[in-house]
């Protein structure tokens, strides 16, 4: 007689890291590096698909695991890019590795951006600092599926020009006419030809049709604080404001409890939340 648990124990082990090799290491700005990985198992690599806004758990042998947003777009297959800031043990250990070294990766996890619902709408992408990492995935996804969306606007703020992530890429995009790419820094230097000031200043540069727009916001708490205020003032529905939340995580699959906020687990119910959901979670940002 088959036990009721039979199918359960035969499902794939959700904690199993897959070996992946570092293909390329691209320093972006100080203590922020873009790592490109390829899974060792080619078949797995081909089948690995994800949504912008999802994340993976990255393992370094003998050191541990940590969650990192996927920075590449699912439209570009065969590799995976993670933009990692050096913050502690695991990220430090990653920085010690060289091209061709092995790591473990499992995922993708999290809900990701609701890209289907966002189709045929305007996209307003707002990033602050490292928040650009997941936003880049959505940005490239939108550019690669450009006809699915109406206007695409990127607002990205960094502390100073030396902290602007993916600057080369963004410079190229700036010259495209199917996207409005607005970059700002808090403190400009002489070579900076973008805007100066906080990211909310950029709202002056665009006309928004709130009802027909999804806003995707990612950045440090201070960015949320001011951007949310501005979006609400512009008449955005709380359900059209999407934000990526960060919480301590261990398992990434809704079991270990570390990321729980109220009745939600950031790892499976998020990390992308509508502002409405996030508001109700009490512990917000």
């Amino acid at each position: 007689m088959p036990s009721p648990y039979d199918t359960l124990i035969r499902t794939p082990n959700p904690y199993q890291p897959r070996s992946a090799r570092i293909v390329r290491i691209t320093p972006l700005v100080k203590d922020n590096v873009l790592f490109q990985f390829r899974f060792e198992d080619e078949e797995f690599s081909r089948e690995f698909s994800y949504k912008p806004g999802q994340f993976v758990e990255l393992s370094i042998f003998g050191v541990g695991e940590c969650p990192i947003s996927i920075s590449s777009s699912p439209t570009r297959k065969g590799f995976l890019e993670l933009c990692v800031r050096r913050a502690g043990r695991v990220t430090n250990a990653l920085y010690q590795l060289k091209e061709n070294d092995l790591v473990g990766i499992r995922g993708p996890y999290g809900n990701g951006f609701p890209v289907a619902a966002m189709e045929n709408k305007n996209l307003l992408l707002i990033a602050g600092g490292l928040g650009m990492a997941p936003i880049r995935s959505l940005l490239n996804y939108a550019l690669d599926n450009r006809s699915d969306f109406h206007d695409v606007i990127l607002m990205y703020g960094a502390r100073d020009p030396g902290e602007v992530l993916f600057r080369n890429e963004l410079e190229t995009i700036r010259h495209r006419d199917d996207i409005k790419c607005l970059l700002t820094v808090d403190e400009a230097s002489s070579e900076w030809d973008g805007y100066t000031g906080v990211v909310t200043e950029l709202f002056k540069e665009v006309k928004l049709d709130a009802a027909a727009t999804y806003a995707a916001v990612c950045g440090p708490p201070i960015v949320y604080k001011f951007v949310l205020k501005e979006l609400l003032a512009q008449g955005f529905s709380k359900n059209h404001i999407l934000m990526s939340l960060e919480r301590k995580m261990k398992c990434g699959v809704g079991k270990c409890g570390h990321c729980s906020i109220g009745y939600k687990y950031t790892c499976i119910d998020g990390p992308i939340f509508t502002y409405w959901d996030a508001m109700n979670l009490r512990e917000l940002i």
Binding site: I9, G62, E65, G257, S260, G262
Partner: protein, 351 residues
């Protein structure tokens, strides 16, 4: 459901017959009024009048500290082998603990299945036993004083014999292994069962009212009660360890001296600990002890309800029993609800 009776005289031969189904564990006395599920060789070793064991049954499904992967820098992560063959029989499990396992089943299934848990789960056979509540039990309020599913056999004590409910096909196999020991249920047993059930109902001393509790917890989010509890709580983690439904864990990688191989270990964790929600750089989403104590109650009595439609508490009374700071969940909920004279209320709520 098939229902039989087993005379207590036949309990020993029945117990012996169970050995062919796996290694038998049951409640044994560990110290004065302290019990633990341990390997048991004979029926007489069992302390079947126990109230609650120190650790609940989760210890059989998640070890407090268990390797989940072995790794080798050249070949990657290999899942730690689980022994698929070793069957164990848990004899003498109370309804609250059975219901707690049903809750853990929920948590461990869903879109991501924790196979480690279910491998162990599938290798367990559960024989429940009825119990009488003591001054800490409030399972009746949590609707966990009776197990509807989650056991292979359930024995209800009716004096000289047990009424035996057969819950699964394997339970039926157990009965059929020694069919002569069982008799069909008769009117007398049925009456005795109802009498003892009524007697038991009258014995509950503690109640909490569940209706609109999540709502009230929300209203009391800023109650000063949490601050007071935060001062008293030692953050010793005991309540999480002994809770039959607390399942938070930490993951730790251990590297061997050879710098190449090692283990990934999973260890029980508690939301009461300072670093539970602390992220790198030192930001802590719950830096105050008060907010951590609150989290434990909010998650169990509010968050879990919204997620799974019921609280993740089975009213076993363990946390009240072990808390060195005498923090008492029932009292907390009464305070939150603003109830007075709660001991006299006997709202006997079932789903």
């Amino acid at each position: 459901m098939k229902v039989l009776t087993l005379s207590k005289k036949n309990a020993t031969p029945f117990f012996e017959a169970l050995k062919s189904f796996g290694k038998t564990y049951g409640p044994v006395e560990k110290g004065e009024k302290a019990y633990s599920f341990q390997p048991v060789e004979s029926f007489s070793q069992l302390a079947l009048d126990y109230k609650r064991t120190i650790l609940p049954l989760k210890k059989f499904f998640y070890k407090p500290c268990q390797p989940v992967f072995h790794f080798n820098k050249d070949s990657g992560y290999q899942p730690a082998e689980e022994d698929l063959e070793e069957k164990i029989v848990l004899f003498g499990v109370h309804p609250c603990d059975i219901n707690a396992l049903n809750i853990l089943d929920l948590v461990n299934s869903g879109p991501y299945v924790d196979n480690y848990y279910f491998v162990k789960r599938q290798n367990n056979l559960i024989i429940g036993i009825s119990c009488m509540p003591d001054e800490l039990c409030f399972c009746r309020s949590m609707s966990t004083d009776f197990a509807e599913t989650g056991f292979d056999l359930f024995l209800s004590d009716i004096g000289d014999s047990y009424v035996v409910r057969v819950g699964t096909g394997i339970g039926d196999d157990m009965v059929n292994a020694v069919p002569d020991l069982f008799s069909p249920i008769d009117e007398e047993s049925s009456r005795a069962y109802k009498d003892s059930s009524n007697e038991r109902s009258a014995m509950f001393q503690r109640y909490i009212e569940l209706s609109d509790l999540p709502e009230i917890m929300d209203l009391e989010f800023h109650s000063e009660l949490w601050e007071k509890l935060g001062e008293r709580c030692l953050a010793c983690g005991s309540c999480s360890m002994i809770c039959p439904t607390c399942n938070c864990y930490n993951i730790i990688d251990k590297l061997n001296l050879d710098q190449k191989t090692g283990e990934r270990i999973r260890q029980w964790d508690s939301c009461l600990f300072k670093d539970f929600a602390e992220v790198s750089g030192g930001h802590n989403f719950r830096s105050k002890r008060a907010s951590r104590v609150q989290q434990r109650y909010l998650h169990k009595q509010q968050g879990f309800v919204e997620q799974y439609g019921r609280p993740s508490c089975v009213g076993c009374g363990r946390c009240t029993m072990v808390c060195p700071a005498k923090i008492d969940i029932v009292e907390i909920l009464h305070t939150i609800r603003g109830e007075r004279n709660h001991r006299r209320r006997k709202s006997d709520r079932r789903r």
